[in-house]
Amino acid sequence: MDSAFVDVLQFLIMGIQRGSIYAMVAMGFNMIYNATGIINFAQGEFVVLGGLMMVTLTMGFHLSIVFAFILSVLFVMVAGILMERLTINPVKQPSVLRLIIITIAVSIIIKGAAMCFWGKGSHYMRHFSGSTSLDFYGATILPQTLWVVGILCCVVAAYIVFFNYTMTGKCMRACAINRDAARLAGINDRKMVMLSFALSAGIGAIAGIIITPIIQMDYARGAMLGLKGFGAAVLGGLGNSMGAVVAGVLLGVLEALGAGYISSHYMDAIALIILLFVLFIRPSGIFGSAEAMRLKEF
């Protein structure tokens, strides 16, 4: 096998694995953004909470992976609902900046609580199904990476089904398009906001759970994951979840290729420079429509 080809393949695998997580974080951002117009800066903390809870349940309480998975997701969803009920719902006349700072405050609180509860160390857990890497056209791939990509596909599929074929999903979309009109049509918009936080927290938790075996988890990971996910969301066009998935994976791949072929010293800058260029040239993101963006201005 040509070694240059193998390297590219390996970078792609690594990029897709990274990008899948960005994509899921970005989907979480979009869900809340669509329902409320808020960028939830605590999105990265949901990922951390999910990962840490999973570690405790599997490594501490020795629960089976499936059971622990469900419990962890539920736990983080409850955290998401609590966040909405306690901090977002009571705010009557929200300004963008105030909401941004409220979510920053929540992220700091979650981070502080995670530090007190789980300690400052890095937590690791076993892979879902073995950690021996498989051969893939000369490159190697971890079984866990397949899990990550597979679960991302499931989440995307579930997302599409939920928003296109269920009543609740359609109600949520209606709220996203025009809240007042949706309310007039008898949709309980406050409930939809709460639901969007729960779902967004759930997606974040799933991302955290599936990536923890590969990257380990500690309380301070949230900010960076959130930042990259936010980047993916903007790149894909805020509010456009399918765009976010593509943009997230793209961002991960670009990062991996940049680290491999340009310089690992400037790896983090590469993704961000691309992001800035996209913002400056086409602010609505690659997949967002300029018109939709103008409607969403504030």
Partner: protein, 337 residues
């Protein structure tokens, strides 16, 4: 400057003069000097956020550029810190111009993201460009500032100097607010379209105010570098930029005084917490520094939930309510009589 503000300004000057008489411990003077650096940046940021209505989560980058320019020029080329500070300002003006023109066409979350991205890029460069910035190891041996050939060695001297810079910054900001430019900015904050129709060149105004606020940050960075004598990328990460905007927002972003209050409160918070923890220990509650993050987040959240206009306007509205209450009771007694 209008009456209320000039009273505030003189109160600030008075407080600066008196402070070293009350705070005799050098350590606390040092803490207050660090506070001054944040105050200076926040005053600039307040002009941008509160008056022009543009968000920036990237001002930590300008602080970093100011600090690094000073650090590099004074240690590698042995320039005077003053000249280096000036160079920092010029460099920041150029960079803010280049970044500002495309970025300020963006709005809301997009502008937030663009400035956040810019801040991370500057941080990555500070870490990775080892030959220029010293990388993670940083720059050692930055000289102290000298004033007319007299080196500012003691904490008291530097305290006065740093806070004079803050006072100068506040003076410039207050004058700007009540100039034609300031009124233009406020119009712009209200509605960009309306402002444009009145003949205000909104792009030029926004870029200019962005550049001015960047200069505040740059000067603050230079002062920081000369005070600590050592810089590394640690203090200039993205979280610092986030901290700066929370300072402005907690204080109240619609007023320079609010931004100052926020900067002072959040800069002193770690000290207040450690003071309280000593006190709690005496009562028998075991407070550990681990809880600091939690308490900080909690305070931020409570302020944003219950005092959305910030501490400063919160306090003034409480004061005016108290005054109103007293006025009412006075009236009430009149009636009774």
């Amino acid at each position: 400057m209008k009456g209320k503000h000039s009273a505030g300004f003189f109160a600030l000057i008075g407080a600066i003069m008196v402070m070293p008489l009350l705070v005799t411990n050098d350590y606390y003077l040092g803490v207050l000097t660090f506070t001054a650096f944040n105050c200076l940046t926040c005053v600039g940021l307040c002009l941008l956020m509160g008056y022009a209505g543009q968000i920036s989560i990237g001002h930590g980058a300008f602080v970093a550029i100011g600090a690094y320019t000073t650090g590099i020029l004074t240690t590698k080329l042995a320039w005077s810190p003053w000249l280096a500070m000036l160079c920092g300002v010029v460099l920041v003006l150029v960079i803010a111009f280049c970044v500002g023109i495309p970025a300020l066409r963006l709005k809301g979350h997009y502008l937030a993201m663009a400035t956040l991205g810019f801040a991370s890029i500057v941080h990555v460069v500070a870490v990775a460009a080892v030959d220029l910035t010293g990388g993670p190891a940083g720059i050692v041996g930055i000289p102290r500032l000298n004033l007319f050939g007299y080196v500012l060695n003691s904490d008291k001297q530097y305290f006065y100097f740093a806070w004079s810079a803050v006072a100068a910054g506040v003076y410039i900001a207050l004058n700007l607010i009540y100039s034609r430019v300031g009124r233009g900015l406020q119009a712009l904050h209200g509605s960009e379209d309306a402002a444009a129709s009145l003949g205000i060149n909104i792009t030029a105004y926004k870029v200019q105010i962005f550049m001015l606020s960047a200069v505040f940050a740059s000067v603050s960075g230079s002062l920081y570098a000369c005070y600590v004598n050592y810089i590394d990328p640690g203090p200039f990460d993205v979280m610092h930029s986030v901290l700066l905007i929370t300072m402005v927002a907690v204080g109240g972003l619609h007023s320079i005084w609010g931004a100052l209050t926020g900067a002072v409160v959040l800069s002193l918070l770690p000290e207040i917490l450690s003071f309280l923890s000593d006190y709690l220990q005496v009562v028998g509650i075991q407070y550990q520094p681990d809880y600091d993050t939690l308490v900080y987040g909690g305070i931020l959240l409570i302020i944003m939930l219950f005092l959305p206009e910030g501490i400063f306007s919160g306090i003034s509205s409480v004061l005016s309510r108290v005054r109103l209450l007293f006025g009412k009771t006075a009236k009430g007694t009149d009636h009774a009589g």
